[in-house]
Amino acid sequence: MELSDSRVIKASPDAVWAAILDPEVLKACIPGCQEMAGSVEQGFEATVVQKIGPVKATFKGAVQLMDIVPGQSCTISGEGKGGPAGFAKGDAKIKLTPQEGGTLLEYAVEAKIGGKIAQLGSRIIDGVARKLADEFFAKFQSVVEGPAEETSDEGGEATEKKGWLKRIF
């Protein structure tokens, strides 16, 4: 299963790069991540709870950053074992390109599942993976960009609305 997408993050490539290497950021962004420990050099140990179709399982696994070109690109590679639920593993190739107003983050994910999640969830796995990738990068974007009202116009509107609502109540 493969999917790829891109999004523009309103931060410098260096700031985006630093976030990618920060285990706390990864932990906050990986959907269902319960624990994350380790380092870029040694790799990370992660515990992730996920529900795919009818199967809910705790995946314990390793996350590694490979093919690192500082500030430009890397591959995040993960492998999780979910006991009787089977396994999931995948690579996300990430590429950063400076762009006016921020950084273009492109990603290409290749994932493989096995065991019960493949047997019971293969019909829906594409949708699930797309949703998880979306969630990850949306979260990543918000973490890197910081609280929305500081940087975006939309955020500004929201703040205004809040103020407006406050005035009513």
Partner: protein
């Protein structure tokens, strides 16, 4: 008036009383004192090297009795293959080992790695999660042609390649067939897939192993179609237990369809483990496990070419098939694409020259073996699709093209080694046209057109070889067992009868039909007769039930044993009546002296046999019990013609089956209602294959259709009411009952009719499509319409 008694009576199935009231005794209903439970930890990768299995944490868990891995089976045999195929070059097939628990490598998703025996099922399952596996995933081979490519990963490192065998049949015909195809006026070519199926019997497999250390006897209770075969294979080849110390019991079994013929790892494991831990061990398959551990069926990829002369006579047939064996050779796997398939390629036609090449291939998938029809559905599908395509290409009526090429003289020796003893293909086709109301089709098509639907009519014929079979013949063909059967007729003192038969009933209704035969022969009521089956300690011997063989082979053994009983009973009657044995007649349960009013009834004779006060002890022994083994001299050849009418929605590609008719020749019929039920079930499974079912692997060898969410079984609204007829009977010439077998016909005869009907419907809508692979899902049909 229809008969209500004996042969030909549609008696209600007596076994249904217990099945329908929840009183069946299935293997899972057996619970023994001190029983433990086993959970199999199975591979979730298709191909991998086992670096280590750490069971230490799991072993310490509550309730765990013992954990077994492949290492515990050091010095123990592997699961044997019961059929050896010799390839085109005279070499035996490549035959890999098949360990009970994986050793060194795992070769398919579902391959058992460790077996956890615990006090409860739940404890066993929990402990399995604590086992730490280090398995290095290897590239998997899934596609057969890719598996044969240079440099492909090998499923078995000890073999030279993934090719099990390259079989040619009849090899001597090859050059002549090639020549005939080159010189033909017309050649129709078709490439097709016979989709991989999963049998899905209602009852999943179960095995309970027990060991009695007082007499060193092991007992295996298992969901099997052939307990004696399991005793032979497991005792002699896997565990080294002599027959007199091994009992195999297959009680009520909830459907088999072939997949319960084979000897499975779980059966050997529970028997072995019970001896090791000196406690009973029970395994009950979950449905999820069944998908990845029951042998699958079909999975052939075929190219077929039919050559015709200028007058549309078939002159030659050439086929090339790739047959998936899966990761290991299941018990009868090698025979399915060869002797159960190649020998049927003449079909119902006088094609003088036939050659088929079959390459059997190992892949990282669940083993593939016989499934209802086994080889014959694949042969029938190829022939009947290519004949239909030829008719379309030549612009001739498909029924007429078939009729023109029918075999009409019997016995008929085909160019593929078998001899059909009887048949009347014209009669079944005539009958089909009548019961299907084919003359009304044009009007029905118009009605559909008015609704914006395309209506199609598909027809096909089939021939199958059943009653498998003569031992001396199958021995020459590579079978490692004989294929006779046996029965003991035990007459009790008061005249009631217990018949111990080698056939096993798991839906066929033997408990009803077999007594009908004996009741007819002796002239007593069926209620006096019971059938005993499924227990190696009770029945003399038996090769079990598959290949539509029970009545033709085991039923014949029962007839022979009953004849012996009657001969002896006549001697006793002659003594009691003070007459000559030659003058004794048996009619309606009464022995009488011809031409006199002197008689003695059945119970009078049987009582004398067991209370021999007035008895010819100097001539015959007391008691009345006889055994017979019966080995047929040929296969039986049921045949028939099937028709299907469909409506296709051109907007969505959805196919609705509106009408289905089957005209079968099963020879003589003992219980018409049961025969009809067998045909219904077979057609439902054939429609399942044609319309719905497919086992799908992804490129990594993950089974994606491993639950009923993704593997579509036929439901009531997927099948029409069937019109079935078996009045065109040409009795088998070589068994005493003249029966041919009806168990597989429906599954063999129906898929081509469905596909032919859909192709016909599309043609009526102006879409000339050569072929659509099964299952004919709306998506596939829509794509064919819109391509």
């Amino acid at each position: 008036m229809p008969k209500d008694h004996g042969i030909g009576a549609s008696q209600k199935r007596r076994e249904d009383v217990r099945f329908l009231t929840g009183r069946g005794q299935y293997t899972d209903d057996i619970n023994l004192h001190g029983q433990t439970y086993v959970y199999f930890l199975r591979s979730d990768v298709a191909h991998g090297k086992i670096n280590s299995i750490d069971t230490s944490a799991a072993e310490a868990m509550e309730g765990v009795v013992r954990i077994f891995t492949g290492a515990d089976f050091e010095g123990i045999g592997g699961l044997p293959c019961g059929w050896q195929v010799t390839d085109r070059f005279g070499q035996p097939m490549q035959e890999p080992g098949h360990p009970v628990l994986a050793r060194g490598k795992v070769r398919h998703v579902g391959d058992p790695i460790a077996a956890i025996v615990a006090e409860t099922k739940e404890q066993a399952r929990d402990a399995a999660e604590a086992i730490v596996l280090d398995i290095e995933e290897l590239p998997a081979v899934v596609d057969m042609k890719a598996a044969l490519a240079e440099g492909a990963a090998k499923v078995h490192d000890e073999l030279s390649s993934n090719l099990c065998y390259d079989w040619g049949f009849v090899e001597d015909n090859k050059a002549a067939v090639d020549e005939a195809i080159k010189n033909a006026a017309h050649v129709t070519t078709l490439e097709l897939v016979n989709n991989r199926l999963i049998a899905n019997p209602m009852e999943p497999r179960v095995a309970v192993g027990d060991y009695n250390f007082a007499n060193d006897e092991s007992t295996l209770y298992t969901t099997s179609q052939n307990p004696h075969v399991i005793r032979l294979l497991m005792g002699a080849f896997v565990l080294g237990i002599p027959e007199h110390k091994l009992r195999v019991v297959a009680p009520d079994v909830g459907g088999g369809f072939g997949t319960k013929i084979f000897h499975y790892a779980e059966e050997a494991f529970v028997t072995f483990a019970a001896r090791q831990i000196k406690r009973p061990v029970k395994w009950t398959s979950t449905r999820s496990e069944a998908f990845m551990s029951d042998a699958h069926g079909r999975d052939h990829v075929t190219k077929i070419e039919l050559a015709l002369d200028a007058d549309n006579n078939f002159t030659a047939l050439r086929c090339e098939t790739y047959a998936n064996m899966g990761a290991y050779l299941s018990t009868f796997a090698p025979s399915v694409p060869t002797w159960l398939h190649g020998t049927l390629l003449a079909g119902n036609y006088r094609t003088p020259l036939i050659y088929t090449n079959v390459k059997a291939v190992f892949t990282n998938t669940v083993p593939v073996d016989a499934y209802r029809g086994a080889g014959r559905p694949e042969a029938t599908f190829q022939i009947e699709r290519v004949v239909d395509k030829a008719a379309r290409e030549l612009g001739v009526d498909p029924i007429q093209l078939r009729r023109q090429n029918f075999i009409t003289q019997f016995p008929y020796s085909t160019p593929v080694a078998v001899q059909y003893d009887t048949g009347d293909y014209v009669a079944t086709m005539d009958k089909l046209e009548e019961i299907m109301d084919m003359s009304g089709f044009a009007a029905r098509r118009k009605e559909s057109e008015a609704k914006g639907k395309w209506r199609g009519l598909g027809v096909n014929c089939y021939i199958e070889a059943c009653g498998i079979a003569p031992s001396n013949l199958v021995g020459q063909l590579g079978a490692r067992a004989g294929l006779y059967d046996a029965a003991t007729v035990r007459v009790n003192a008061t005249g009631s009868i217990s018949v111990m038969v080698g056939a096993h009933s798991h839906g066929q209704g033997h408990e009803t039909t077999f007594p009908q035969v004996i009741a007819e022969m002796i002239g007593i009521d069926e209620s006096q007769i019971d059938i005993v089956h499924g227990d190696s300690s009770k029945i003399p011997f038996g090769m079990g039930t598959y290949g539509s063989r029970s009545l033709a082979v085991c039923g014949s053994a029962m007839v022979r044993a009953t004849e012996k009983v009657i001969r002896k009973a006549k001697k006793i009657a002659a003594h009691l009546l003070e007459a000559s044995e030659a003058d004794i007649e048996l009619k309606n349960g009464k022995f009488s002296v011809a031409g006199t009013d002197k008689s003695v009834d059945w119970a009078g004779v049987t009582l004398a046999a067991y209370v021999p006060h007035n008895y010819p002890l100097e001539d015959i022994e007391p008691g009345l019990e006889e055994t017979a083994f019966y080995d047929p001299s040929n296969f039986t050849y049921p045949s028939g013609a099937y028709a299907c009418e469909v409506e296709v929605d051109p907007e969505t590609g959805k196919v609705q089956i509106l009408k289905f008719a089957a005209a079968d020749d099963f020879g003589n019929v003992v219980n018409p209602m049961i025969v009809e039920g067998q045909v219904h079930g077979g057609i439902a499974q054939g429609i399942g294959q044609a319309m719905l079912e497919a086992a799908i692997y992804d490129e990594n060898g993950q089974l994606q259709s491993a639950s009923y969410m993704d593997y579509a079984m036929p439901r009531a609204d997927d099948v029409p009411f069937y019109i079935v007829d078996h009045s065109c009977a040409t009795p088998c010439t070589h068994n005493p009952l003249g029966v041919k077998g009806c168990g597989e016909a429906g599954a063999i005869g129906s898929p081509p009719a469905v596909v032919n009907a859909v192709i016909d419907a599309l043609a009526s809508g102006g879409k000339n499509v050569g072929h659509i692979n099964m299952p004919l899902t709306p998506h596939r049909v829509w794509k064919a319409i819109n391509s």
